[in-house]
Symmetry: C2
Subunit: 336 residues, 2 copies
DNA sequence: TTGAAAGCGCTAACAC
DNA sequence: GTGTTAGCGCTTTCAA
């Protein structure tokens, strides 16, 4: 059976509030009693019911994390950063996987609040839930979800800059007929990456052919299918900017099957720098996101907002942008 | 502010227990009142405090999941199976990442119980925590943690059979001088895989050279380093059984650097069948674990034990073994 | 220093 | 059908 402070009190023939005081290092108990209580608690295998404690304190030391997919190593690493950082402050994490489903995301946003999380971190996959997030009763940090009049803070890699780095690199290599394989159209990350990419072309007074902007999903199949379709329709394409590494992996798969050599016959650059991008068999040029830092910074920001949640007037939504970094590998190279 | 049933009751000038009855579809309220309550609750944005509810019911509809690493896609897929299945029964998941650290695992085991989880799923990384798990106040399901006199149920792939499939396949291909790259020595999974592998050799009256049993970690670096070391010391080695795909990836990395062709110059077989094993650039022969099913079955077993947790005497620890499957790809081939 | 009592938000047993 | 009350395990205020 679970042992409670009442059990301890009964055994020691004292009042249970003394037990509470002793166990929580609060003043108002003699050293003698405290010692005895602590000892007995240990002997009886007492574990405080933090849920009940939370009912009183109105906090649960728990945050909700809602992400679309944990198999994509990008989110795996971000989540690791989140959990590790949260643990440092004794917070635990409810992990929710929306599977890119709007309704499921909505259900989760409600569910974690019912479970009285102290705050949440959300990588939202659709704008429809924005108002739900804005009306949340606890602080919210968005991952890549900044919009013009955001009501909550957001953290992301500087996607415009990341897109720019990708575009600039392709141009520097001598590629001129680039394509973009985007994630879903409503993904702000993809929009920013596209924007930065095209900026790089404009800056050099080069033209980006909009018919080579291809919209898909953030998965391997999408990369494979888009590559097939694009190269059949536009065989003149000399390079592709995949909006994430997983899409790029799909592209490489198609190229491999067709015997087209990335880096030689065509340039391919991804985004994220997931670990397998660096495998010698892959050697994908990409734009690195500081994944662990994203998680860490989101948690720190969130905990800070939780701490100051009472004086709401003092709180303005922040937008934090982390630096992307170009990682050059074998799938791009100087064109003669 | 958060709205409670008392707020609703006050507004409607009725007793708060009527509100509770109405909201929970319990008998004892007029349809009229019920309608009114439900309507008002919605208007006021009421969200039940499931924590408080749990204090009464003594359940939290939450399970704790403790795994060593979420970036390894193996655990990513298992965790996805866990969360999806748990959600079907309205359970949420505390995700904890032990990072292969015994102490951290111990802390987590205590922490989730303090948070009053209804049960937990643990992939334990060390035997020292066995007693802690056995004395848990809630049902526990182990992932790959069966020992002779287990006190809790355990689910895993049939690792002996998996190891056997790997060994048999290498033999069938004509490899005779195999090596094993194992995970940590205390990993029961690795022990079973080794055992099955060697069984296959014995069965054919072939000898496995024990000096080619190499112990490392379950990561890329380990695969790389062991490959380097082994092939320098035992250049006659003709094949390697990596105890997971990530180790195998490290092996392939080393071979690539040395210009040694897997499947041609040397056979390599992994374990797990993570997604990237199937990439055309990798084409790793491996033994597939039913990852999503592992997660699903563990949750179903756990929920079942939670339901019958009261009549303890009726409960025997089960051991469930799922079937592995050989996936032949390019890194092994028939030797002439 | 200790005990008694109220209350966190909710459910459930009992009385009316 | 509705209100009252106790209690889940805990913290905290107020008396003693």
């Amino acid at each position: 059976m679970k042992v409670t402070i009442k059990d301890i009190a009964q055994k020691l023939n004292i009042n249970f509030s003394s037990v509470s005081r002793a166990l929580n290092n609060k003043p108002g108990v003699s050293d003698e009693t405290r010692r005895l209580v602590v000892k007995t608690a240990k002997e009886m295998g007492y574990r405080p019911n933090v849920i009940a404690r939370g009912l009183v304190s109105r906090t649960t030391k728990t945050i909700g994390v809602i992400i679309p997919d944990i198999i994509n190593p990008l989110f795996g690493e971000i989540t690791t950063g989140i959990i590790e950082t949260a643990n440092l402050s004794d917070y635990d994490v409810f992990l929710c996987i929306s599977n890119w489903d709007c309704d499921k995301e909505k259900d989760y946003i409600n569910a974690v609040q019912q479970k009285q999380v102290d705050g949440m971190i959300v990588k939202s996959v659709c704008n429809e839930n924005a108002s739900l997030l804005e009306s949340a009763v606890v602080p919210v940090i968005g991952l890549e979800s900044w919009t013009a009049n955001n009501k909550f803070s957001s953290v992301s890699t500087d996607n415009i800059k990341g897109g720019y780095l990708a575009g600039k690199h392709l141009i520097d290599c001598g590629y001129r007929k680039a394509a973009i394989f985007s994630g879903p159209e409503n993904s702000s990350a993809s929009q920013f990456r596209r924007q930065g990419f095209i900026n790089a072309f404009r800056e050099q007074e080069l033209h980006f052919d909009d018919t080579k902007f291809c919209v898909g999903e953030y998965d391997i199949e999408s990369g494979y299918n888009l590559a097939k379709q694009l190269l059949e329709e536009h065989p003149d394409t000399d390079s592709i900017f995949a909006n994430n590494d997983v899409i790029a992996l799909g592209i490489l798969q198609y190229l491999e099957e067709k015997g087209i050599k990335p880096g030689k016959d065509i340039g391919v650059i991804g985004f994220d720098n997931i670990r397998m991008a660096g495998l010698p068999q892959i050697q994908l040029t990409t734009v690195k996101q500081p994944k662990h830092s994203l998680g860490r910074i989101m948690v720190n920001l969130l905990l800070d907002e939780i701490k100051n949640h009472s004086d709401k007037n003092q709180h303005y939504p922040q937008r934090i942008l982390l630096e992307p970094e170009l990682i050059v590998r074998g799938t791009t190279s100087k064109q003669s």
